[in-house]
């Protein structure tokens, strides 16, 4: 590759980098306090429906092995 082609590749790459940074710089950001509050609200609203958090009664656990009963 001629050095002229190489440097124009480098310039093209640099242009893309700057373009990408412009996109990322221009977004709206919310405060971390608000973001955290929303996350905490989501977790607390959905906690009661979260089986791994709440625990699963044995009778409702599809993965629990049903042991055969022995009549003594």
């Amino acid at each position: 590759m001629s050095s002229k082609m190489q440097s124009s590749n480098n310039i093209a790459q640099a242009r893309r980098t700057v373009q990408q940074l412009r996109v990322e710089a221009n977004i709206e950001r919310i405060k971390v306090s608000k973001a955290s509050a929303d996350l905490m609200n989501y977790c607390s609203e959905h906690a009661k429906y979260d089986p791994l958090l709440m625990g699963i009664p044995a009778s409702e656990n599809p993965f629990k092995d049903r042991k055969p009963c022995t009549i003594l």
Binding site: S7, N10, I11, A14, R15, T17, V18, Q20, L21, R22, V23, E24, A25, I27, E28, R29, I30, K31, V32, S33, K34, A35, S36, A37, D38, L39, M40, Y42, C43, S44, E45, H46, A47, Y49, D50, P51, L52, L53, I56, N61, P62, F63, K64, D65
Partner: protein
């Protein structure tokens, strides 16, 4: 000043601007904000099933949306479809290439996909009388690290060639290529609304992409090594990443920054995989040290551990109904815990 110099200057100025904007909204962090939240209960889960059948390391698993079937991939050259309730194998799909790194179940349950060092994503139809290969998606120039179906007609892939791609399954061609990472892409996660996805790569960055226009919207820094695992939290407003730097992190999308780091001085193994409980409160993270640690996502504390594998935990998954967590390991077994 030459154009090159000018652009270097502008790039530096933009980076400074982004850091300043992030700092300006950093009025707290997640753990401090959650100080008043009751701690998550200490989580003690039991192994309910051990799925035996693979003959070599398991590299990936994925739940079907029916919460019962799951697919696993092993370097024994097979995909196995399991009925997790009975522990029985429902199907076995022999792979052309045994160097598999990922597998995926389509939301419909009709298709599964696999890929790895063959650089291809192969899609199989499970519903034909004999399982058939329906497409071989061949355009990546590096290994296939992850695949996720959007539907029976579209699939997203991430590759060691540093790109991600959205494919049309009817034509077998790439519709959109996502270019911006400078290291191997290792993982991806689709947002709940399916309009965006995040990728993690060996450049230690996570990136947020618009599925339709291919644009990289945001870049998340902080990790100091490869990001091996990534997942949206159920609300869609934040992501969790797991890295070879032995930590997991939560990045909030709207605040555009890291809000909490899940780490422990005693932990010096890389994170290989992660999955979340349905409320997003619990993170199940698989590590190279053979364990899966359970983290309280809001407070950053370890609240449990799943010990039982005899080798690295390579994959974890929680089904949509959240009724269990599945871990897959290099010890060739899958375990179901709840």
């Amino acid at each position: 000043m030459g154009e090159m110099e000018q652009m270097k200057k502008e790039a530096e100025a933009l980076k400074t601007q982004i850091e300043a904007a992030r700092k300006a909204v950093h009025d707290t962090d997640m753990a401090s904000a959650a100080a008043g939240v009751a701690p998550a209960p200490q989580v003690q889960l039991k192994t309910r099933k051990t799925l035996k059948g693979h003959l070599a390391k398991i590299y990936a698993m994925h739940w079907s949306t029916d919460n019962r079937l799951m697919v696993s991939a092993s370097q024994d050259g097979k995909l196995l479809i399991w009925d997790s309730h009975s522990g029985n194998k429902v199907n076995a799909v022999p792979l052309k290439s045994s160097w598999v790194m990922t597998c995926a179940y389509a939301p419909s349950g009709n298709l599964v996909a696999s890929g790895g060092l063959d650089n291809m994503c192969t899609v199989y139809n499970l519903k034909t009388p004999v399982i058939k290969t329906v497409k071989e998606l061949d355009a990546h120039t590096g290994y296939l690290s992850c695949a996720r179906f959007l539907s029976d007609t579209e699939i997203l892939t991430s590759s060691g060639d540093t790109t991600c791609a959205l494919w049309d399954l009817e034509t077998g061609k790439q519709k959109t290529v996502f270019l911006n990472h400078v290291g191997d892409c290792m993982c991806l996660s689709l947002s709940p609304d399916m309009n965006s996805f995040v990728s993690g790569a060996c450049d230690s960055l996570a990136k947020l992409w618009d599925v339709r226009d291919g644009q990289c919207k945001q870049t998340f820094q902080g990790h100091t090594s490869d990001i091996n695992a990534i997942s949206f939290i159920p609300s869609g407003n934040a992501i969790i990443t797991g890295s070879d730097d032995c930590t997991c992190k939560m990045y909030d999308i709207r605040a555009d920054q890291e809000v909490i780091c899940y780490q422990d001085a005693a932990l010096n193994s890389g994170v290989t995989s992660l999955a979340l409980s349905t409320s997003g409160r619990l993170i199940f993270a698989g590590y190279d040290d053979f364990n899966c640690n359970i983290w309280d996502s809001l407070k950053g504390e370890k609240v449990g551990v799943l010990s039982g594998h005899d080798n690295r935990v390579s994959c974890t998954g929680v089904p949509e109904d959240g009724m269990c967590v599945c871990t897959g390991s290099w010890d060739s077994f899958l375990k179901i815990w709840n």
